[in-house]
């Protein structure tokens, strides 16, 4: 087992374990902190996949932005401070049903991924760093998408600020 495999299995272990922590933990704050480890693990997987820029973006946006926003959301939607916020389940039948459905989906996906004969060309040249290529493509081929994404972000944040304002 070489180093790359070892690193992959380490990050995969972190991701799966902390994702289970997010879903199964009773306390909302524990879920939020488990999500932190999931995002870090996914960033590590991007690094394993030679996507260094995406790994940095994952840490900056997900951990630095989205997670902080979610933790703010957890704190702002609790009545009393100092009491653990518990997320209740939705009853026994629905619980069993969704367990069955998601397990079936997992088996189906695993079966699909194992049996489909993916087209895998020989990767002859793969750039050491992806930053140059991403920058070039974003400002040439995908410049329109880039601008639309920028406008979408602006509109979304203005809209979010308008909606969250008190007493509108």
């Amino acid at each position: 087992m070489n180093t790359l495999e070892l690193v992959f299995y380490l990050f995969a272990f972190i991701v799966v374990l902390s994702a289970m922590g997010v879903v199964f933990s009773r306390k909302l704050m524990y879920s939020a902190f488990s999500l932190l480890f999931t995002f870090f693990g996914v960033a590590g997987l991007y690094a394993v996949l030679n996507a260094d820029f995406l790994a940095v973006v994952q840490i900056m946006i997900y951990v630095g932005g989205i997670l902080v926003l979610i933790i703010f959301g957890v704190m702002l939607t609790s009545k009393v401070t100092g009491v653990d916020i518990v997320s209740g389940g939705t009853g026994k039948t629905l619980y069993i049903g969704s367990t069955v459905v998601s397990a079936a989906m997992l088996f189906f996906l695993t079966y699909l991924y194992n049996t489909v004969n993916w087209h895998l060309p020989e990767v002859t040249k793969y750039s050491e760093t992806s930053l140059d290529a991403i920058g070039n493509l974003l400002l040439t081929k995908y410049v329109l998408t880039f601008l639309v994404a920028a406008i979408l972000l602006l509109i979304a944040f203005i809209g979010a600020a308008l909606i969250a304002r008190k007493g509108n």
Binding site: V23, L28, Y62, T77, S98, L106, L109, Y113, L152, G159
Partner: protein, 102 residues
Amino acid sequence: MGIGLTHFLILSGILFSLGIFGIATRKNAILVLMSLELILNSANINFVAFSRFGGVNIEGQIAALFVIVLAAAEVAVALAIVLNIYQNYHHVNVDEINQMKG
């Protein structure tokens, strides 16, 4: 054999199923949002894995980048809506919110 495409795909499958499970079973709207983030991350892992192994080259990473941008916009708007719901109902349980005008 080393680490191939299938390893990453199965990992993202596990993440996706966990996200679906969280969305279906939990009441709290914030936890539903967190599960949604898990699903988006699993999709992103697929994009980047195919960009590495499937010959899509760098364009898969660009798709993943736009997914991250959309996730940021989505979570901002969704949390604003959740805060508004909390002001009206004093809880954020998604199965008890049944009025359009609070």
